[in-house]
Subunit: 283 residues, 2 copies
């Protein structure tokens, strides 16, 4: 493979593509769930691709992992018990475990191979996997949430692939109802919700399904993510009781751990809605 080879994901639905210059394909396999490839890029560290879709690069995943974690955990008064659905690369788990209030964090990834390859090719994301508060399950996240005891969780983070294939069942009211039941009062569900510019209808539909499942407060937070279609991504938070606009600003300002994107200003900024989103999501 020559130095001028590129891995490009052509995103048919939006008619746009993102690519990275790669030096070598380090790994390729078909698991029972999907195909996984790992590339070494020239400028973005290692690159994981699942079913042809770019999942993460070593260089820009901090944006996604921090935004999937810290706004929800600092919006919660005392996030003790956290479940991550998906998230097999362990980057979200690492961010969650930075919070000293967290007593348990369970990661429920359906495909163990994602985690095994992350351990090998993204070891920095897996550095907290041995934390005694962490538990790694390789199981179906839909069933896992259905089986939780009511009111047993403070935060549920849905860190999944797109709503096609294995992740499809993570984007409907039945799944959100399981999450609602499993959360304590004041508990927060946060889910990756695709591109504000390319997937606004999906965001509307997710928010409708979250509302149908009982969540009274819902907020979509945009953030940059160069490796995903359009380079602009979002997560959507839903809360069982209590608003989503406030957060523990003092704790966030005094946080005893490092971040690269997130800080108090960025948390407030992510709550701002671009005018077209405000208009479209008002309904």
């Amino acid at each position: 493979m020559s130095q001028s080879t590129w891995f490009t994901e052509a995103h048919a639905a939006s008619g746009s593509s993102i690519g990275f210059r790669v030096e070598a394909r380090l790994h390729a396999e078909k698991t029972p769930f999907q195909s996984i490839e790992i590339y070494r890029t020239t400028d973005w560290g290692n690159l994981m691709v699942i079913d042809g879709c770019i999942m993460l690069t070593g260089r820009d995943n901090f944006l996604y992992h921090e935004m999937m974690t810290h706004p929800a955990l600092f919006a919660h008064a005392a996030p003790r018990n956290v479940a991550i659905i998906g998230g097999g690369d362990c980057g979200t788990l690492r961010e969650v475990l930075k919070h000293a209030e967290v007593e348990s964090a369970v990661q429920v990834e359906i495909d163990e191979r994602v985690t095994r390859l992350a351990e090998r090719y993204f070891p920095e994301l897996c550095e907290s996997n041995g934390d005694p508060r962490a538990r790694l399950l390789f199981d179906d996240g839909i069933r896992y949430m259905r089986d939780r005891a009511p009111g047993s969780l403070d935060v549920v983070i849905v860190d999944s692939t797109d709503p096609v294939g294995p992740a499809e069942g993570l984007f409907n009211a039945a799944f959100y109802a399981s999450c609602y039941r499993a959360l304590r009062e004041g508990g927060i569900l946060v889910q990756q919700s695709e591109s504000p510019v390319a997937h606004l209808e999906l965001i509307r539909s997710m928010r409708g399904a979250m509302r149908a499942a009982g969540f009274p407060a819902i907020h979509t937070l945009p953030f940059p993510q160069p490796c995903y279609p359009t380079g602009w991504w979002s997560c959507t938070m839903a809360r069982k009781g209590g608003p989503l606009e406030g957060f523990r600003e003092r704790d966030a300002a005094d946080k005893p751990f490092a971040t690269r994107y997130y800080n108090v200003e960025i948390h407030r900024a992510a709550l701002a809605q671009p005018e077209f989103m405000r208009e479209s999501l008002r309904a």
Copy 2:
């Protein structure tokens, strides 16, 4: 050209690429300054490419044009006289003229063909070109700024291509000194400043040159821009006297014109600095 053809810009410096699915190449020419191509895309409206670099699409240029204009104009107490250096597609001019306080707006584009092609392929961006307050010059922006009377402008917007080729001289202290001199006290210079993730060194260097030219207050505002490398872009504002954090929030909230990205919340949000930028630009 088949329906599955893509126009892709491989950005060598960052090892990343952006592409759009195109249906037809509508136009191609070499001007005395550069090569210009126009494509019709499947999902992003028309696409303008200069010297192989994507300049704008019909669908996402509102992000860039609004952020190049409204934060600076609402940060200024009374923006009466505005100069746009570059900006040949006329989208920034259109946004500037939405402000009733503006008495004159001069656009100084070096390549008249950019504007002529915008009139044909992006007519919506040119809809205010006939405004009696507007003046379109086709001239060298560096010389234009050098020749301004001291204290004759309130806002200078540098809406240029990347700092190579014709635009190179727009990114140094000599040019910024011309801008400083031409601005009244409280005047604002705003310039597109590339990607926060791919061009942080350039941003640092621009800010250093602005400081060297006499500007005491400097602030870099990130915003999403799917068609530019990494999908994440920025503008840098510099002010001759007065801070950049505040703005006419009441006027921005009551603005009598429509925007699609910009609003009061987004203005405040754009002032937030991601942690890695805060650390890198602190010096």
